[in-house]
């Protein structure tokens, strides 16, 4: 599995170089830095095809903005960003990018099936209703919602709604899945279930996944690389590779390397919040904890 992951890792699907992002007039927002209108500056990011990576960092540091830039929703104010060898907006037009947000944002008057097919029906109405429904149904099955096709959103639990949102993104048949704190509004158990679901989807579909999360556990469990972002100035301060082999499951938590990586990330995150811990100490501490356990 690991070998396969590295083989298909040869080409870079998403690459950003010296990327700067901002909103018009965002200097007026508290929390923006540098006096300019940029939210993010000097970001370098490379995501290999088929990888599952995450962005973690303090609130407001620009994770969602970076994700929006990959989806072509925010244009760079400096540097370059390429998705699948083209511009992000062109990639989005070719339906290479599917996105899932913290809130499922389903249409309350549409069934789970029609919600799952909704974005595809906007993007490619020429496929026809029957074909769109067929694909939507396929992806509802993939996220474990077989039998719930006809249900309205208000008849679904939070976790099920988020599954529909994932199915909606997958129904576009994108190469890239962007997930912005997708499980942030769910309870702990549902969250963990959704993590395993995401692992399963990733293993089955070989999508390239970029996951924004606040949960270190989630990042370590799911991802091969974790990009730690820092505020003031907003940038990527560290890239941590998770040395756990795939496939991963609930037993991955028991692996010593899991806890070690977790400790390293915690230290980096504290640093990104402006607390002056030397990241180097984290590794030693992780080792010490392991010894004590």
């Amino acid at each position: 599995m690991r070998v396969v992951a590295e083989q298909r890792a040869t080409d870079i699907l998403i690459s950003a170089e010296d990327l700067a992002l901002g909103y018009p007039g965002s200097a007026a927002f508290p929390g923006t830095t540098g006096g300019g209108t940029n939210v993010i500056e000097h970001v370098d990011l490379k995501v290999r095809r088929g990888a599952i990576v995450s962005l973690i960092g303090p609130s407001g540091c620009g994770k969602s903005t970076l994700l929006k830039a990959i989806a072509g929703l925010v244009a760079p104010t400096g540097g370059t960003i390429r998705v699948g060898g083209t511009t992000p907006s062109e990639a989005a037009r070719r339906r290479q990018v599917g996105m899932v947000l913290q809130d499922a944002t389903l249409l309350p008057w549409k069934s789970a099936l029609d919600n799952a097919g909704f974005l595809l029906s906007l993007a490619a109405p020429e496929l026809g209703r029957a074909e769109i429904r067929r694909r939507a149904g396929e992806n509802l099955r993939l996220v474990g919602l077989e039998g719930a096709e006809g249900k309205l959103p208000r008849q679904l639990s939070g976790g099920m709604k988020q599954r529909v949102a994932i199915a909606r993104a997958l129904t576009l048949s994108p190469e890239i899945l962007l997930l912005d704190e997708p499980f942030g509004a769910l309870d702990a158990i549902t969250r963990e279930e959704m993590s395993y679901l995401l692992l399963e989807i990733w293993e089955r579909t070989q999508k390239t996944i970029v996951l924004v999360t606040h949960s270190i556990d989630e990042a370590v469990l799911l991802c091969s690389d974790v990009h730690v972002m820092g505020a003031r100035p907003a940038r990527i301060i560290e890239r941590v590779t998770v040395p756990l082999p795939y496939p991963r499951d609930q037993h991955s938590f028991e692996d010593a390397r899991f806890r070690e990586t977790e400790a390293v990330l915690r230290e980096h995150l504290l640093a990104s919040h402006g607390r002056a811990h030397a990241p180097q100490r984290a590794a030693n501490q992780g080792a010490a904890n392991r010894g004590a356990a």
């Binding site: 989005a92 944002t105 974005l119 309205l152």
Partner: protein
């Protein structure tokens, strides 16, 4: 879950009991204090007047109900169309909206005599008055509905290069329907007021006209009888809108004061 639309006796029971008690107290007070029916009629004399003038009141009801219905439908159409224009054409919206809000500060009841002057004594001045009085809540609620689409969802749609028209037709308008229904419920009660005021200002038929005519005759029981009919008409229209709401937006949560959590 969607609730059955039919009348539920148990839900209505508290109001019914309270209503009967209040009417009983009213009746007793009139007799005990020996109030003249021409000042305040007892419920029993109102009932008698209702029966005696049934044919006349029925005729007046038809006239007023027609005014309310035509005026309300036009007010709803104008109100909703205005909201759509404001949302779809931003520049126009920016120009229109302050003017509409400003217009709200005009006491529109005062326009009734002018409409009579312009349009005469029959249906059209009442309809105009109703439109002017009742379109605003429809516009406001419809606007809120059109604009309350989750920005995240809009971003998702934009990411697959959906056009503004698609977003309007497939998301904003359906999303606005429950809001529109709420605005229509306010508009229907305002429409009844508009019709009555319009008839006060100048009419030869209708419940408002009947109220005015009966009061010049010092027939207070008849005034109250006509008022009762006006309320019944108002309530009937209101529940028609509720039925429409259940039919059009079965997915939307309903506010039901009888079943608060």
């Amino acid at each position: 879950m969607s609730r059955p639309a039919q009348f539920r006796f148990l839900d209505a029971a508290p109001s019914l009991i309270l209503g009967v008690i209040l009417i009983g107290l009213w009746e007793a007070a009139i007799h005990l204090l020996d109030v003249n029916a021409f000042v305040v009629p007892a419920p029993s004399s109102i009932a008698i007047s209702l029966v005696q003038n049934a044919a006349l009141l029925a005729e007046a009801t038809l006239v007023t109900a027609k005014e309310v219905l035509v005026g309300f439908v036009l007010a709803t159409l104008c109100g909703a169309a205005l909201a759509l224009l404001i949302v779809r054409f931003r520049m126009l919206g920016r120009a229109l909206y302050p003017i509409i809000v400003l217009f709200q500060t005009v006491p529109k009841v005062a326009l009734a005599p002018i409409f009579i002057l312009w349009f005469g004594y029959d249906l059209s001045p009442k309809v105009m008055l109703i439109v002017v009085i009742a379109f605003f809540p429809v516009t406001l609620d419809m606007l809120a509905g059109l604009q309350s689409v989750d920005p995240g969802l809009v971003a998702l749609m934009r990411s697959v290069s959906a056009r503004d028209n698609d977003i309007l037709l497939r998301v904003r308008i359906p999303n606005a329907l429950p809001h529109l229904m709420a605005g229509m419920k306010i508009a229907i009660t305002l429409s009844v007021i508009g019709a009555i005021v319009g008839e006060f200002a100048g009419a030869s038929a209708g419940l408002g006209y009947t109220i005015q005519f009966a009061s010049t005759q010092l027939d207070t029981p008849m005034v109250f009888a006509a008022l009762v009919v006006v309320s019944v008409v108002g309530v009937a229209f209101y529940y028609l809108i509720e039925l429409l709401e259940r039919a059009v937006t079965p997915w939307a949560p309903k506010f039901d004061p009888a079943h608060q959590h």
